[in-house]
C-alpha cells in the first residue's frame, strides 16, 4: 500500500502521502477493490480458472498493462480506460451477466480521474505472453525438408519387389519379425480392384488373374486399372473428402448449381494424371495462372471452386465477420488439405501446440482477405463467373453480342429522337440499371429486409439491379419491405423509389419514411403512373436525415388495390438531385401535329425493334458458369484481429506464409494481386517440407487403410509421428522427382510386396528373439495387410453392380435444374456414388450410416463406426431390398438351366468374390429349400440381401 503511494507521489514523504490521499485510497478500498473481487476476478485474475481476453485485473501493473485490446486503466484518463468503457457497456459489455449500477460506474470514473490510486503489490508479476520460437519449432520432423534415403539393406532381398519393401522389411527385421505371406490371388485381385477403381472384379476378371497370378500379370492389370476412367472416379472421390465437397449449403439448403464442375475436374485430373503440384496450384490460384488454350483456362477456373465450397453462413448480418469467417474456412481447408496443418487454431491466439503465431495466421488470412468469395446482401451469395467457351462458340457469342449491340444502338437512336417529345422521359432505358451508376445512395430490393412472400421479376423494365419484386397482389397487409439506407452525413435528401409501371399496379401503395429524430411520414404512391425521374424513380419528397441514424423506408401492401412493386430506394443529397438537364423547350404549336405523326411511327418502329432485341436475347448462346472467386480491387495486408474479433483490430501483418515451413528467401508479393499465386507456388514446391509428404501419406492411407502418419490431416505436434519416417521421405522425394505423378506414386505402392501381403495373421511371425518385443496389434510396422471396412460408396456401387443396374455414365449435373433447396432430396439414379449429389441437408441414408465424409470439413481419414443403424439399413432399407430383388431376377434369368448349387457359386462370386464355403452352401441351400417353387425369386432375393448384410461383404481383406 505504501509502495504504491511512493510510486505515485514521487518525493513526498510517506506520511504526507497518506494524509493527503487518504480519501482516494479509501475510495479504492471501499468502492473499487470489492467490486473487482466480486465481479471481475472470476475471469480476470491469476486465481481464476481461465484468464479471459488476456486481461488480469488483480495487480496494479496488470490492470494498467491491460489485455489483448489495450490498457484497462489509464490514470487520469477515463476516456482511454477500456475498463470504464466495458463497465458502461460500450466497446465491451462487462460483467457479461449485466451492467453494474450507475453509482458503481461513477465510482470507477472518479477513481480513474483522480489518478487510479492502486495500492496492490505486484509481487505476482503479470505473465507475459510467451512468444513462439520459430527456430525451435523447426525441430519438429514435419517442418524439416524431406531427405533422400537409400533403401536399406535387408537379409532377404528376394522378398522386395521395390524400395518400399526394403524400408518395411528392414524395420520388421529390427523387430525380429517376418512379414506375412502373400494374399491369395482371388483376395489380392479384389483388393486392388477396389483400391484403384472402387468396384469389385467380375468373376471373369478374377479368373484372369487367378489363372496367372504372376507379378507380371499383376502389373499389367494394375496398368489397365490405372488407365480406366473408373480410376479417376474412385480417386476423385477421395479428394472430394479432403476438399469438403458439397453441392449445397446447410442454411436454407441453397443448391450450388455449378459445383459438379469441380467434381468432374477432379475426375479428369486423376484420370489424366495431372501433376499434383499443378493440381494444387490450380485449386488455389487457377484464375490467376496463364493458360494457353481456352480449355486449359476452363479447367483452371473450375479448379478454384475449391475455395468457394465452404458451408458458409450467408445470413450473417455482420458482413465483416462473415468475410473473416470465409477466410478462416478457406485457411482451414487449404491448410488441412495440402499441408495437414491446423492453422486456424491461431485465429484468436498463438497456436497452443504448433509453432504458428497469430501473425502467421493473419499473414495468410491477408491473402484470402484480398480475395472476394461472396457478393454481400441480406443473404449473401457465392460468386459464379463465366467459363470461356471453345473457340467456335466464343465466335458465335461475339457475333451475337455485336448483333445485340447494333440493335441496341438502333433503339437508342430512336429514343433520342423521341426524347424531346416525351418530356417525362418514360423510357430512358429499357433494361436493368446498375445501382452503381446512379447518384446518391441506392439500396436495391435484394439488400432490403423482406417480410412475406414476394415474387421476383424481370418482366417490366426498366428496373434497378438484377430484378424487382412484387406482392402478386396477394396477402394484403402481410407483406412489407424495409430499406435501411445508410446516411453519409447530416442534411436534407430527396427520397426516391423506383418501380415498374403497369395497368395492374396499385394506385395507393403506402410508403413510410422515417427521417431524422424518428419522425415517420406516410406517403401514398400511384404505381400506375410512370415515375417522373428518367421513367425510373419517383420522388417521395425531401427529408432531413442524421448520419448516425439509418433512413428507413418501408413499402407495404396494406390496403393496396393492385400489384405492389418494390425495387430500389435512392437518397439524393439536395444539390445533387438535378441529375438530368432541364427539359428542352416545347416545340412550336403549329408543328405539333406533324410531330405527333412522326412520333407515332417512331414508336411503332421502336416497339418492333425492342421485340427483335428480346428475341435475339432469348436465343443468346450462353457462356457456362462456374463457382469461383475473384480478386478484390484493393490489395492490402490484414490487421491482426485481437482474439479473432473483427471489430478489434491490432497491428498489420504483412502477407506471408507459415514461417516455420518456409525455406529460403521470404516471399515477395505482387502488390496488384491477392497473393494466392505466391501461396500456391509456395505450397506446390519442393522446398515446402509438408506438401509432398502430406500427399503421399494420403495415397498410402487410401491404399493401406492407415497412413504412415495416421493423423493424415495433422502433421503438427499433436499429430502422430510417422511409423516409417525414411520411407515417407523416400516416397515424398520420389514423388517430387517424378514430376508429382500421382499414378506413378500409386503404382509403386500397389506393386510392392508390402501391399500384396495377406491380412489374415493375428500376430507377427517371430523369427529372431529380440530384447524388446513390443506387441503391435495395430499393425503400425506393416507385418501384414490391413483388413478394412468398405466405405459407403464401395458398398453402394457393389450392390448396384451385383444387381446389374450400375450405370457407368460419366460427368454432368445430377440434380434437377433450378432446385430451390436440397430438403428431402432423394437421388434415385443408378450412377456411381461419386455422382450422387453431395447435398449437405439430404445425404443418402447409405452414406449417412456408413460414415461418408462430413462434406463441411476436411476429411482425410473417415471414421469407421459399427452401429445399429447400419444393420437396420441392411435389413430394411428400400434400396437394399430392391437391389436384392434385381440381383435375384438377373441371376435367375441368366441361369435358367442351372441347378441351385451352380447358381449359388455364381451368386457368391459376384457378391463376395469367392465360392461359398461348404457350411455357407448348406445354410443357403436349406434356406432355398424352405421356400416352394412359387417363392423362388423371393428366396433368392432374401439370400442376396443376407449376403449384402454379411461380414464378408463389408470387409476388404
Amino acid at each position: 500500500m505504501l509502495a504504491a503511494a511512493i510510486v505515485l507521489l514521487g518525493s513526498l514523504s510517506v506520511r504526507a502521502a497518506e494524509n493527503q490521499d487518504r480519501a482516494v485510497l479509501d475510495l479504492f478500498e471501499a468502492k473499487i477493490r470489492p467490486v473487482l473481487i466480486a465481479r471481475c476476478y472470476e475471469c480476470h485474475s491469476q486465481e481464476g480458472e481461465e484468464v479471459h481476453g488476456g486481461l488480469l485485473l488483480d495487480t496494479r501493473a496488470a490492470i494498467r498493462a491491460g489485455g489483448d485490446s489495450g490498457p484497462a486503466v489509464v490514470p487520469g484518463k477515463p476516456d482511454e480506460s477500456l475498463l470504464l468503457s466495458a463497465l458502461r457497456h460500450e466497446d465491451f459489455e462487462m460483467p457479461p451477466d449485466g451492467k453494474l449500477g450507475e453509482d458503481v460506474v461513477a465510482d470507477f470514473t472518479r477513481w480513474i480521474e483522480t489518478g487510479a490510486h492502486d495500492p496492490r503489490d505486484d509481487d505476482a508479476a503479470t505473465p507475459i505472453a510467451q512468444s513462439i520460437d520459430i527456430e525451435a519449432g523447426r525441430q519438429h520432423w514435419s517442418y524439416q525438408l524431406p531427405r533422400e534415403h537409400k533403401p536399406p539393406h535387408v537379409s532377404d532381398p528376394e522378398w522386395s519387389q521395390n524400395a518400399i519393401d526394403r524400408f518395411v522389411l528392414h524395420r520388421l527385421e529390427q523387430q525380429g519379425w517376418a512379414p506375412a505371406g502373400p494374399a491369395k490371388p482371388d483376395v489380392l485381385i479384389r483388393r486392388v480392384y477396389y483400391d484403384l477403381i472402387g468396384l469389385p472384379p467380375t468373376p471373369e476378371q478374377i479368373d484372369e488373374f487367378v489363372s496367372d497370378p504372376t507379378q507380371q500379370n499383376y502389373e499389367a492389370i494394375v496398368d489397365r486399372l490405372l488407365d480406366s476412367p473408373r480410376f479417376g472416379e474412385r480417386w476423385a472421390r477421395h479428394w472430394l473428402d479432403v476438399a469438403r465437397y458439397g453441392e449445397s449449403n446447410t442454411l436454407r439448403g441453397t443448391v450450388f448449381g455449378e459445383a459438379w464442375r469441380y467434381r468432374d475436374w477432379a475426375i479428369d485430373a486423376f484420370n489424366e494424371d495431372l501433376p499434383f503440384d499443378q493440381f494444387i496450384q490450380q485449386q488455389i490460384a487457377g484464375d490467376l495462372l496463364e493458360a494457353e488454350t481456352s480449355e486449359q483456362r476452363r479447367k483452371q477456373l473450375t479448379a478454384t471452386t475449391l475455395l468457394a465450397l465452404g458451408n458458409t453462413n450467408f445470413e450473417n448480418q455482420d458482413k465483416e465477420q462473415l468475410r473473416m469467417d470465409v477466410v478462416d474456412e478457406q485457411l482451414e481447408t487449404v491448410g488441412g488439405a495440402f499441408l495437414a496443418q491446423t492453422i486456424t487454431c491461431a485465429r484468436c491466439h498463438d497456436h497452443k501446440f504448433d509453432p504458428i503465431p497469430t501473425a502467421d495466421y493473419y499473414a495468410l488470412a491477408g491473402i484470402f482477405r484480398n480475395t472476394r468469395t461472396l457478393v454481400d446482401a441480406n443473404v449473401s451469395r457465392w460468386i459464379e463467373v463465366s467459363l470461356p467457351a471453345p473457340p467456335e462458340v466464343e465466335n458465335e457469342i461475339q457475333l451475337h453480342e455485336e448483333r445485340v449491340a447494333a440493335k441496341r444502338a438502333e433503339i437508342a437512336a430512336i429514343r433520342e429522337e423521341l426524347k424531346p417529345s416525351t418530356a417525362t422521359a418514360q423510357t430512358r432505358t429499357s433494361g436493368p440499371v446498375r445501382a452503381e451508376s446512379l447518384a446518391g445512395i441506392v439500396v436495391d430490393n435484394t439488400d432490403a429486409f423482406v417480410v412475406g412472400a414476394w415474387k421476383e421479376s424481370q418482366f417490366a423494365k426498366p428496373y434497378v439491379g438484377a430484378s424487382y419484386i412484387h406482392d402478386e397482389a396477394m396477402g394484403r397487409g402481410e407483406k412489407s419491405i424495409s430499406y435501411e439506407v445508410p446516411v453519409p452525413k447530416d442534411g436534407e435528401y430527396e427520397v426516391r423509389i423506383s418501380y415498374t409501371i403497369g395497368s395492374n399496379r396499385a394506385s395507393n401503395v403506402p410508403v413510410a419514411v422515417t427521417s431524422a429524430g424518428g419522425k415517420q411520414t406516410k406517403v401514398v404512391v400511384d404505381q400506375r403512373k410512370a415515375p417522373g425521374i428518367d421513367g425510373l424513380f419517383h420522388a417521395l419528397g425531401r427529408f432531413p436525415f442524421k448520419a448516425n441514424e439509418a433512413a428507413q423506408i418501408v413499402i407495404s401492401n396494406q390496403g393496396a388495390d393492385g400489384h405492389v412493386i418494390a425495387d430500389a430506394v435512392q437518397l439524393v443529397p439536395l444539390g445533387e438531385s438535378q441529375s438530368r438537364p432541364p427539359a428542352k423547350v416545347a416545340k412550336q404549336p403549329e408543328k405539333q401535329q406533324e410531330n405527333q405523326q412522326q412520333t407515332a411511327s417512331l414508336k411503332t418502329k421502336l416497339k418492333q425493334l425492342e421485340e427483335e432485341l428480346k428475341k435475339l436475347q432469348g436465343a443468346a448462346p450462353r457462356r457456362e458458369q462456374v463457382m469461383s472467386v475473384q480478386e478484390r480491387g484493393e490489395i492490402e495486408n490484414s490487421p491482426i484481429h485481437i482474439r479473432g474479433n473483427v471489430h478489434n483490430l491490432g497491428s498489420v501483418a504483412p502477407r506471408g506464409f507459415l514461417q516455420v515451413a518456409t525455406y529460403g528467401e521470404p516471399p515477395e508479393f505482387n502488390d496488384q494481386q491477392s497473393g494466392r499465386r505466391e501461396l500456391a507456388e509456395w505450397i506446390a514446391s519442393d522446398r515446402n517440407p509438408l506438401t509432398a509428404r502430406v500427399a503421399v501419406n494420403r495415397f498410402w492411407h487410401w491404399l493401406f487403410g492407415a497412413g504412415l502418419v495416421r493423423t493424415t490431416d495433422n502433421f503438427g505436434s499433436v499429430g502422430e509421428l510417422p511409423s516409417h519416417p525414411e520411407l515417407l521421405d523416400y516416397l515424398a522425394v520420389q514423388f517430387q522427382e517424378e514430376s508429382w505423378s500421382v499414378k506413378t506414386a500409386i503404382k509403386r505402392m500397389v506393386c510392392s510386396r508390402t501391399y500384396q501381403m495377406s491380412s489374415q495373421a493375428k500376430e507377427p511371425q517371430v523369427v529372431a528373439q529380440q530384447v524388446v518385443a513390443e506387441p503391435d496389434p495395430e499393425n503400425r510396422l506393416l507385418w501384414r495387410a490391413n483388413r478394412r471396412r468398405h466405405d459407403a460408396e464401395s458398398i453402394r456401387d457393389t450392390i448396384l453392380s451385383v444387381s446389374g443396374r450400375l450405370s457407368l455414365e460419366m460427368y454432368g449435373p445430377t440434380h434437377r435444374k433450378g432446385m430451390g433447396n436440397d430438403y428431402d432430396y432423394r437421388y434415385d439414379g443408378l450412377r456411381r456414388s461419386v455422382y450422387v449429389p453431395a447435398f449437405r441437408n439430404s445425404m443418402p441414408e447409405i452414406f449417412e450410416v456408413f460414415d461418408f465424409a462430413n462434406p463441411s470439413m476436411v476429411v482425410g481419414t473417415r471414421t469407421t463406426s459399427t452401429v445399429a443403424p447400419q444393420a437396420l439399413f441392411m435389413m430394411n432399407n428400400r434400396f437394399v431390398v430392391e437391389e436384392s430383388e434385381e440381383a435375384a431376377k438377373r441371376l435367375l434369368k441368366e441361369t435358367s438351366d442351372a441347378t441351385d448349387e451352380q447358381r449359388l457359386v455364381l451368386a457368391y462370386r459376384r457378391t463376395l468374390g469367392r465360392t461359398p464355403t461348404p457350411r455357407e452352401q448348406q445354410i443357403s441351400l436349406k434356406f432355398l429349400a424352405d421356400h416352394d417353387a412359387g417363392q423362388q425369386q423371393q428366396a433368392w432375393s432374401s439370400l442376396f440381401q443376407a449376403m449384402f448384410a454379411s461380414i464378408d461383404f463389408r470387409y476388404l481383406d
Binding site: G716, N841, F873
Partner: protein
C-alpha cells in the same frame, strides 16, 4: 402390418433369447468392440456413464419454438410498452448494429397484443397468449434475461443447438449422450422429433466430429404429420414378420460362419452386436413411439384428437414415452422448413395466437403428465426459441428478431419452481439484470445433468473442443 405390435415384439424377443443363448453370447462377451474403442476409448460408447458430479436430472426434453416467440407478448411483462405504445424512440437494433454498426435507430414502440395477469402461488406474470401453460407457472423457472449470438435464424438456430453460429460443431444432445451414454440400449440416446430441414437442418442434431453413435436420430420431420413419424429403416413394409424373422436368422447364420472363418475378434463382435441391437430396436422402438395404447384421458390431456392440437400433442406424448423409456435427450420441434419459420412474425403479430393454440394445451399436458408420473423430478423441460422479438414494431404490426433479450423457461430436474430470474430493460429489449447467455444456459443444463461444461471435452484436429467453447457460466441462482 397385419400383426399387432405386441405379438410382433414377443416373437422377436423370443428370437433374441435364442440367439443370445447361442452364438450371441460371443458378442456379449466381446462387447468391447474394437471399432467403438478406437472411436471413443471405451467399450460401449452408449453405456450409461457416471457424470462428473451428482446430477439433479437424468434427461432433457427441449421444446423448440422455432422462429422466435415474442417474450414481450408472452411471459416478460412490460407495463411501459402499453404506456408508450406508438411512440418513436431510438433503439440499438441488433440487425442494424450488425449490418452497419449503427446505434439508436428510431423505432415505434408496440405494446403486447395480449393481456397480462398473475398466476399461481408464485404470482408470476403471463399473458393470455398461453393460458394453459400459464396455469403451470408454479412449475416453471423463467429466465427473463436470455441473450444469444446470431441475428438471423440460421446462425441463431445453430448457436442454440451447437453453441456456434457458423462453425461445424456437435449439437447439445450429442454432447450429452457422449458425456452420459444412455439408459436404454434398445433405443437411440438422442431423438429429435419432427426436426426442421431448414436453418441448419441435420446439423442441429448432428454429431459433427464426435463419434457417429452420438448422432441424433430423427423421428419424423417438420411438415409431415406426427402420426406418421417413424425412425428411418426401423420397419420393413415389404416383408411379413415371419419373413423378417427368417431373414434375420439367415443373416445371423451366415455371419456366424464368416465370423468363425475369420477367427472372430472384437471388431467383428461389434458387427454381430449391431445386428442384435438393431433387431431389438426394431422390436422395442415402434412400441415406444406408438401412442395408441395411451388412455383416452391422457390423449385428451395432450389435445390429441383436437384439430388444432393433435399434431403437436402427439409429438409431446411421444416425448414423454421416450423419456419414460430412458432416452437421454429429446427435442420436440414446433416449426417448419421455411426461411421464416413458425413464430417468425415480422408482420402480422396476431398470427402468434394460431401457433400458441397449437402448442399451449400439449405443453401444459406434458408438464402435468410428467409431474403425475414423477418424471418431472429428474427431467429438465426447456421451452424456448432461438431468440425473442423486438418490443418495437416492424412494418405496421410485426416484430423483428431480438437476440439481445428474451425469455426461456425451464421446469423440473433441479431448477427452482415458480421462480423468475433476471430481467430485460423496461421495454423488454435487452437483458440487463442477471444476464444469461445461451452458453450459460448450455452450461447450466449440463450442470443439472451432472456434467461440468469445462470438462466435457473432445479432442479433434489438435484441440479440445467443448459445447461452450471458452465461455459459459452455470446460473447458480436458479438451482433448487
Amino acid at each position: 402390418m397385419m400383426h399387432a405390435p405386441a405379438s410382433r415384439f414377443v416373437s422377436r424377443r423370443t428370437a433374441l433369447k435364442n440367439t443370445a443363448c447361442g452364438f450371441g453370447m460371443l458378442a456379449a462377451s466381446g462387447l468391447a468392440a474394437e471399432a467403438a474403442r478406437a472411436e471413443t476409448g471405451r467399450a460401449n460408447p452408449l453405456q450409461a456413464r457416471q457424470p462428473h458430479h451428482a446430477p439433479r436430472a437424468k434427461r432433457v426434453i427441449f421444446l423448440f419454438m422455432q422462429g422466435g416467440v415474442s417474450h414481450v407478448d408472452s411471459f416478460d411483462y412490460k407495463p411501459l410498452l402499453e404506456k408508450r405504445d406508438g411512440e418513436s424512440l431510438g433503439f440499438d437494433d441488433a440487425r442494424a448494429l450488425a449490418k452497419t454498426g449503427q446505434r439508436g435507430v428510431s423505432k415505434t414502440i408496440m405494446k403486447s397484443l395480449w393481456k397480462y395477469s398473475r398466476y399461481g402461488q408464485s404470482g408470476l406474470w403471463a399473458s393470455d397468449l398461453f393460458p394453459e401453460m400459464a396455469r403451470h407457472v408454479d412449475k416453471m423457472c423463467f429466465l427473463h434475461s436470455m441473450h444469444t449470438d446470431g441475428v438471423a435464424h440460421g446462425p441463431a438456430t445453430l448457436f442454440l443447438h451447437c453453441g456456434a453460429t457458423s462453425l461445424i460443431r456437435p449439437s447439445m444432445g450429442s454432447w450429452i449422450t457422449y458425456g452420459l451414454g444412455t439408459e436404454n440400449q434398445n433405443l437411440p440416446g438422442f431423438v429429435s422429433i419432427s426436426p426442421s430441414a431448414g436453418n441448419g437442418g441435420p446439423r442441429n442434431y448432428g454429431n459433427a466430429f464426435l463419434p457417429a453413435v452420438f448422432q441424433g436420430t430423427a423421428l419424423g420431420s417438420a411438415g409431415r404429420p406426427a402420426k406418421d413419424a417413424m425412425i428411418q429403416d426401423l420397419v420393413n413394409a415389404s416383408r411379413t414378420p415371419d419373413q423378417q424373422q427368417q431373414q434375420f436368422d439367415l443373416i445371423t447364420a451366415l455371419n456366424k460362419e464368416q465370423y468363425g472363418a475369420r477367427g472372430g475378434g472384437s471388431e467383428l463382435d461389434a458387427v454381430i452386436n449391431s445386428y442384435e441391437l438393431a433387431w431389438r430396436m426394431q422390436g422395442a422402438a415402434p412400441e415406444v413411439i406408438d401412442t395408441s395404447s395411451e388412455s383416452q384421458e391422457t390423449r385428451d390431456l395432450y389435445g390429441i384428437g383436437q384439430p388444432k392440437t393433435d399434431n403437436f400433442g402427439r409429438q409431446c406424448l411421444m416425448a414423454r414415452r421416450l423419456c419414460e423409456a430412458g432416452v437421454r435427450y429429446i427435442q420436440v420441434t414446433y416449426g417448419d422448413n421455411g426461411a421464416n419459420p413458425a413464430w417468425d412474425q415480422h408482420g402480422n403479430m396476431p398470427k402468434h395466437k394460431e401457433h400458441a393454440l397449437a402448442v399451449d394445451q400439449p405443453i401444459a399436458g406434458l408438464l402435468q403428465d410428467l409431474d403425475q408420473r414423477g418424471l418431472l423430478e429428474d427431467t429438465v423441460v426447456w421451452w424456448g426459441g432461438e431468440f425473442g422479438r423486438t418490443p418495437y414494431a416492424q412494418g405496421s404490426d410485426g416484430r423483428d428478431h431480438n437476440p439481445g433479450g428474451f425469455t426461456v423457461w425451464l421446469a423440473g430436474g433441479g431448477v427452482k419452481a415458480g421462480h423468475s430470474h433476471g430481467a430485460t430493460d423496461e421495454f423488454g429489449h435487452k437483458a440487463v439484470e442477471g444476464k444469461v447467455h445461451m452458453h450459460d444456459l448450455h452450461a447450466t443444463i449440463l450442470h443439472l445433468l451432472g456434467l461440468d461444461h469445462k470438462r466435457l471435452t473432445y479432442r479433434y484436429a489438435g484441440r479440445d473442443f467443448r459445447l461452450t467453447d471458452v465461455h459459459g457460466r452455470v446460473v447458480q441462482e436458479i438451482l433448487a
